[in-house]
Symmetry: C2
Subunit: 304 residues, 2 copies
């Protein structure tokens, strides 16, 4: 068997860019990464692309995949004007990569769509016709994957901004600049920090923050289950990984659904419906690898 | 060109079954229908199938399509045990049709999935890769259609039961037997009737009911847009057809999204994003026709 092609993978987050190369998803997941702080596009991209160029000089990359923060406007081929990262508004991945790597095949999508694809191919959602990946970190986002393909539709899912009922007694205004008390405004890592004046990791496991957090995440999971009908929901991100939180959310999901959807997955402990990422915290960069691989395959496919 | 095959179509609702036959969707939409009250399965199905048998005797049907109330458990090939229509729990469409029509190709799906397919093929959502059909009548339901195919996933969407924030001052308990104040519990036709002690059509256009109703429906539309990212949402059903309601919902959708999704469709009057059914109140029975047609095509396709 001939050696698989070498793929470059960029997980482009709002605070850092994680860069890796590999011939398989395991190499990308387990191999060394190059991490660059996300500052201005010029500065950041110079550092990112210098590193890929040095790797390319050793062994040519065959494609690059990018899992990027969003929103992304695929029609305009650019990061959307509504991203809170002002300097990156209108940034064009295709142009930036082409300036250094010419017509090297490029695949790019949102970080959450990419993570959803990675979890579908190699992680917790393997083989499911319909799956949703949700990440709860500084912000909240997610991707809907149908038949292995991330659903874009109008733009792409921005499920972190859905509206859910407030819990009784909660009068926190919410942190979302666009919506105030949407889900992200009430339950993101940023919301936890501002609500309790301490970051999530500094709050004890018995802090009331987690009861509230699990209630909001459960409502979000139920709304996703009812609207998109995924066979599995993967809940990732730093906040979602807090001790015991996933089990609390599962309990509340079962209670909220109240048996209405006649499916074993939503009864009992809900442990096979709402799951942690199979790829741990690597779903994003592995997803970028998957996008690069798909871009290469597409470039090699005979034209219709 | 040879004559198209004759297809039987059943829109199976909780109060009545609408039966039609036709060779094209226009014939089904515009031709005569046979309407049977939904009572017990035995009584209802005898009347429904007697009528189709009499048509079949004149000109043989080549397939039957059923757009049925739900939930439907496709794995069990039966109406789910959680349907509020107790006598129909476990009812098997395939078995009932086969008892009279043998192996005549049968396509069946939920009424809302069928309507979604009809709107995608011949109605307001023509050619959209991702679309959602929502109906607001006695209850609230919807279907998600991706690439022309209704997404089933875990079961099928049951989006009427999503949870949305209560409007300030609204302390109505909600009517949903399973969830109390889910969307259906707060905003279905049933909820309107019980909240205001008069049915929707008896309330004047300036009644406060419509302000509240449009607020809840707008939140539902926004949650659907954020989670499933459809390019268009078709809002059907008797309640949604109330004078001026659609425009009110559009206004509130635009306000709630607040520019976050950088798409023209969600700015201005939102009139190209949230739309009335292109097939009017015929989406369901025309959808049943589409399901029958697809079942026939599938039965004729060469086996792999």
């Amino acid at each position: 068997m001939s050696e698989a092609p070498l793929i470059g993978a960029i997980e482009a987050g709002g605070t850092k860019m994680v860069c890796a190369v590999g011939r398989t998803w395991r190499e990308v997941r387990e191999g060394p990464t190059h991490v660059v702080a996300t500052t201005t596009p010029d500065e950041t991209m110079t550092r990112v692309l210098d590193w890929f160029a040095s790797r390319h000089a050793l062994t040519p990359l065959r494609a690059i995949g990018v899992a990027s923060f969003g929103p992304i406007d695929f029609d305009a081929d650019a990061i959307a004007s509504t991203t809170p990262k002002e300097q990156w508004r209108g940034f064009r991945w295709r142009q930036a990569i082409a300036a250094r790597f010419g017509d090297l095949p490029l695949g790019y999508d949102t970080d959450t769509d990419a993570a959803g694809v990675a979890e579908w191919r190699w992680g917790a959602a393997r083989g499911r016709e319909v799956s949703v990946y949700v990440t709860v970190g500084t912000g909240i986002g997610g991707g809907l994957v149908v038949g292995g393909v991330p659903v874009h539709g109008l733009l792409h899912p921005e499920l972190g901004h859905m509206f859910v009922p407030r819990q009784a007694g909660d009068d926190f205004a919410g942190t979302c600049p666009s919506h105030g008390d949407c889900l992200e405004g009430l339950a993101s890592g940023e919301a936890i920090t501002r609500r309790w004046r301490r970051a999530g990791p500094e709050l004890g496991a018995d802090h009331p923050a987690w009861e509230l957090e699990s209630s909001y995440l459960a409502l979000a999971v139920v709304n996703i289950a009812l609207i998109a009908s995924p066979q599995i929901i993967v809940l990732g991100g730093g906040v979602a990984a807090a001790d015991g939180l996933l089990d609390r959310v599962r309990d509340k999901v079962r209670t909220a659904v109240n048996g209405y959807l006649p499916r074993e997955e939503l009864r009992g402990d809900v442990a096979h419906y709402l799951v942690a990422p199979g790829l741990g915290s690597s779903s994003g960069v592995v997803g970028a690898f998957a996008l690069g691989q798909r871009a290469l395959d597409t470039s090699l496919a005979p034209s219709a």
